[in-house]
Homo-oligomer: 193 residues x 2
């Protein structure tokens, strides 16, 4: 199962692709950042991001797209552009009939590191370890997109099941199941997004 | 000059089309609401809105698209969906090479009624008068999309110039020029949107 993670942004939109294989392993496939120039008009920036994300989906034919859930109370200066980039990722997936999942940053951190408040460098190291890379993914901020893809593979009911999934979970990571279910229950509130 | 106004929303996205003619008149062409079902998943809702807006642009081949500017401090329950719908309208326009303009609700109210805090019913009546319609546009909330198109036609430097434009302006409406210029100066702050 190929999973494409998207860390949405209007200036930098991270894309990470992994394979959750029958070999019970998560494998690295690709990481990149789709960029738009802040000096361009907003409509052209959105077009650039949309074309970039569409090209990635065409190149890797993911079975699922995992996108960071954006919250209205996020950074006021960037939240609307972030929400729009997330919307474009959803649109590009929907146009191709690819299922979309939204995961919160806390869910991703818990899934990867077992700590919902993990620091950025800790997340980058764990992504590197889980995907058995020799060095941190570059550019570094693209690790978040890989984390979203991994989070989706490790989620309850996800690509890896039962014993396979247990291999990837530390005791602490199992907290994530609880947190994730809690988030799912409170999700009704955010449906207007 | 054909102008297509968009009042963005994820559940209801208003579309209004007018012509700013050489006859010094603004003429009504079309009004409608593109809808998506709240019970659908967000990615499919965005696809529905995007396809609806794209179809309108193909049907009316506007020379400009005028979209309501969304602010991060808007209603938290709907702001992200509204921003995403606005983003899709920008994307659909950019894909067709149609210039995009963003106007604030205050700009639209001042342009139409001369009052930046005009009530909804006052706006609907003024839109009806300016476009010489026999009755309020239906559905009523689509009047906002027509107001955005009219606002774009009447803006300083817009489709109607000098004497032509003066015909459409009351003394009070001229306040708008000042308010609009003020908004333009402070716009740098919102560039991250």
């Amino acid at each position: 199962m190929i999973i494409l993670g998207v860390d949405p942004g209007l200036t930098r939109c991270g894309v990470g692709v992994i394979e959750a294989g029958a070999s019970r392993r998560l494998s690295f496939i690709h990481v990149d950042v789709v960029r738009s120039a802040p000096e361009e008009s907003q409509d052209l920036r959105l077009l650039t991001i949309f074309n970039g994300l569409s090209a990635k989906m065409d190149a890797f034919s993911p079975d699922a797209v995992s996108i960071e859930r954006v919250f209205a109370q996020s950074n006021r200066n960037t939240v609307l552009g972030t929400a729009q980039a997330a919307g474009l990722a959803m649109l590009a997936a929907a146009q191709r009939g690819i299922p979309v999942a939204l995961h919160t940053p806390t869910e991703a951190k818990l899934a990867i590191s077992g700590n919902g408040k993990a620091e950025k460098i800790q997340m980058e190291r764990m992504v590197t370890t889980i995907l058995r890379l020799n060095q941190l993914p570059k550019p570094a901020d693209a690790a978040d997109a890989l984390a979203l893809a991994i989070c989706h593979a490790l989620r309850p009911g996800g690509a890896l099941q039962g014993g396979e999934r247990e291999q990837h979970l530390t005791a602490a990571q199992r907290q994530w199941t609880t947190a994730s279910q809690k988030a799912a229950r409170s999700r009704g509130v955010g449906r207007g997004m």
